[in-house]
Amino acid sequence: MKLLTHNLLSSHVRGVGPRGFPLRLQATEVRINPVEFNPEFVARMIPKVEWAALLEAADTLHLVEVPKEPIQGYEHDEKFLRKMHHVLLEVDVLEGTLQCPESGRLFPISRGIPNMLLSDEETES
């Protein structure tokens, strides 16, 4: 699971609503997966990122420091873009958990795949 994906994920445990984001990441196995760097691509991703969630996740994984916010003129700052490329796309959580911040419910990540299925009781109306 990439951090870009994590950035989109939210808990859908019943009743949690927007307080289900972001999920608290905990990783027991992480791999770095080289991905071809495409600066335009990364630059376009930046505005879509929920920055605080990314910071938190990167921090949990002890990653290279991510700036508190996108720097001015980031679109042309290759160093910045490369760093973001690495954090968003190359870091791959293979094993770990994602925790709903509101309910505490844990979602597993195994073999790089997060499993976000809820049980019947958790989704019942």
Partner: protein
Amino acid sequence: MDHEAAQLEKQHVHDVYESTAPYFSDLQSKAWPRVRQFLQEQKPGSLIADIGCGTGKYLKVNSQVHTLGCDYCEPLVEIARERGCEVMVCDNLNLPFRDQGFDAIISIGVIHHFSTKERRIRAIKEMARVLVPGGQLMIYVWAMEQKNRHFEKQDVLVPWNRALCSQFFSESGQSGRKRRCGHPERSHPYHPPCSECSCAVCFKEHCDSKRSHSVDYEPVTARTCFANIPKESEAENGFYNTLGKSFRSWFFFRSLDESTLRKQIERARPLKTTDVCADHTITIQPSRHSSLDLDLQEPFSKKEQNSDEEVFVETSSQKHLEWLRARGTVKHLNGDHLGEIGKNGGGTFLDSTTTSDNGADTSNLEGESPSASRILRRISAVNSTDSNPDDTISVEEQQADILDSRAFMRYYHVFREGELCGLLKEHVSELHILSSGNDHGNWCIIAEKKENCD
């Protein structure tokens, strides 16, 4: 009713895809052109979700965008992952995403697996929720109206024969295709060796022995087996032509929406596996030419076989012969449709739903019509005395077996023309329809999330 719906989907969608997932792994499939085009038209840097991605065939179509694949079926998702895709397991009805995260979403062959209108709407609304305003959603669902044939009813259980797939893999001379499944043929007593060529082989061949034996009967040629279809190609004629050769039995299912009108609310007992079907009066609509039916045929021919019982309207039996000879001719293959099944699955696997080429009439065979109940009873009777007990599908007794043995049945709600549009217009006001049409036997729609609606 939602519980029933979930049970039905578990039994006839999720469990089937899980069980058949191993067969998808080696099968290549190409993305459908229009879906491909939709993906390629997205702006570079877009975030895209493929909800119901199956083995991930659409996930790498456009390298300029980031596509996340989601599916309910873990085995299928694992296959996609092995191909290097970013994927996850989740439920279309409860998408685990924050609002407005995606620039575009595709839902190819998914919504038709939801067994009630309410769930279909919910699935669409969930996708709308996670779309950015101005973002686009593309939906493909099976059409009830097919080019040369049509379904009698909208709620269908479609058998899929695992045995054929095993056969395919074990007998296939195709290079590079190592099958992963562990289901050798030994457990299929109902495959009598083909009388013509003595190959213990898919009953497709058995059945076709009555017809043009020639080309189709090389035992090693899994080409004849419907399982061979996934040579990707653009089929002119849609899904059913592709599958043409084997199963021609559809199992009609009374819609759960319809059922609720009749049932007492108190019947909320937990459903046994056999319950769902038993309660809903599966109607079997065999055609005359599949060997599946040949076995079923016995009882039928003893009584009056109605041409009424045909599922499809075949415009020309000539087509059937052409199809047979084509045996895998690329232009007839529409493996891709198979590939995009549902949130549970993709894969180019076969759906044993093929067309009947027995021409003539289609009539409504209602669940409670006398002929239907006769069929059901007869099948049951045959089942107990028949020399090939596995061949017949007794509705009541064999439900549990069916999933396990040779026929996995997948549930589909096939859509009428205009139905998908109608759903969006009436129930998903946050989406605005940009275009709609028919593609390879599917109703498709592209809709846009309206601005200022969340």
